[in-house]
Subunit: 229 residues, 2 copies
DNA sequence: CCAAAAGTGTTTATAGTACACCCATGC
DNA sequence: GCATGGGTGTACTATAAACACTTTTGG
């Protein structure tokens, strides 16, 4: 038993993990085994341990659900409505993660019946206030992808420009002009073209590119403001 | 005594309240009466009550320190490094507030020796990790003022364009061209010019303007993206 | 040779930037 | 009449937006 002089809320970290399958933006969901909200789908999360930072807690969740580490993570928002959990006062710090789905091995935790990637447009009613959390995350990724090179976190390290454009279109929910998209992305010089091309495609093969992180860091140090789309 | 089966951290809300004195951007600081960090300056804050939302807690802090309500508040970030408070694990949800200093009556709380507006450039060492929190807030306001009409929250409802420009220059830490600044702000049509002018100034009197909130909301509904500076 | 998707340039419109002089007011 | 700060317009540059045809590949 843990005793305190004043009431202390429980604190969890809930994770919105976005992935991309080449067509649509996906989010990782788990199906709860126990009450409250048994059998409902929810965002993966964990209670924060006593000596663990919030970010480490998010990393622990990723390790638990998919045996993965070292991915892009950012704090999203903290949800603290007193009634958001029927058991007790629970404050949830939400983290947004961007991963390559291929690197992830989905492993349902002990409290979970299933785990899966779900299209962000086909998420039904989630447990707790997780629909609100997801909505906040979608808003964040839509805003951020325009001026920070976070899209690359969702693709393999080698990707074609049409794949990158498809990702932007899926996230923004609108189509973009191919010529203008290429012109803009290439003009910032944060992409390295490889000599390698796509193989076995029934049309002209696209070149692969890589994100040039060093070049990007140089631009950031110079205080250059990117507007990617 | 409050008992829990698992350890629960304490949760506080700390507030970064920005004000503007016509020249420089100010932040509200309180001087701590007791340990830890006795006599040091800190951001005003409070422990979150059991049945209070995070936002209500921030509002309570504002009411306590300055008997004010109904001001602009937004959640900034949650700071949760395990060692950030030497007493016990304390997670702090930071809120940023923008106020008109004239509306505020500074009232030192029971735990506080003093309370004052301090120039953001002249804040020394603060208690806890409050220098980090302040740095995050300055970054946020600098980013946000470029595309959201939050500057008006720091000025009287009637203001002149040179006053508004002075505010932008203070926040961004750079000077702006007067003609271009006026052109841009006026072109978005979110300012209403009043017939009234400045009085008793030893130079040409400037016209007063008001922020046109209804017009702004219409623009937002149309999905128009403003870039104010 | 056909279908499918990749690659490519130019023109036009819009927005940003740089810059200097006259005007109104109080003392 | 002088010092102080308010108000204004134009030319130039850079960026954004619109738009159609040719190329490569597998089947």
């Amino acid at each position: 038993m843990y005793q305190y002089q004043y009431p202390h809320p429980a604190v969890t970290v809930d994770c919105i993990i976005f992935g991309f399958d080449g067509q649509n933006l996906k989010v990782m969901l788990v199906q709860r085994k126990s009450e409250p909200f048994a059998k409902m789908w929810a965002l993966p999360g964990a209670f924060v341990n006593e000596d663990e930072s919030l970010e480490s807690c998010a990393e622990r969740v990723l390790m638990k659900e998919g045996n993965i580490s070292g991915v892009y993570l950012e704090q999203l928002f903290t949800f603290g409505t007193p009634s958001r959990d029927p058991r007790e006062r629970v404050i949830s710090v939400a983290y947004m993660g961007l991963v390559k789905t291929a690197d992830f091995e989905l492993i349902a935790g002990n409290d979970e019946l299933q785990i899966e990637w779900r299209d962000v447009e086909q998420v039904g009613d989630l447990a707790f206030d997780h629909n609100d959390i997801l909505a906040t995350a979608i808003q964040r990724i839509r805003g951020k992808i325009r001026y920070q090179p976070i899209g690359f976190e969702l693709l393999d390290s080698k990707f074609t420009l049409p794949q990158l454009q498809q990702l932007y279109e899926a996230i923004l929910g609108q189509s973009l002009d191919r010529r203008n998209f290429r012109k803009k992305l290439l003009s910032m010089q944060i992409l390295k073209q490889l000599s390698e091309k796509q193989q076995n495609v029934a049309h002209k093969a696209a070149f692969y590119y890589e994100f040039d992180r060093e070049r990007y860091e140089v631009l950031m140090k110079e205080g250059i403001y990117l507007e990617l789309v």
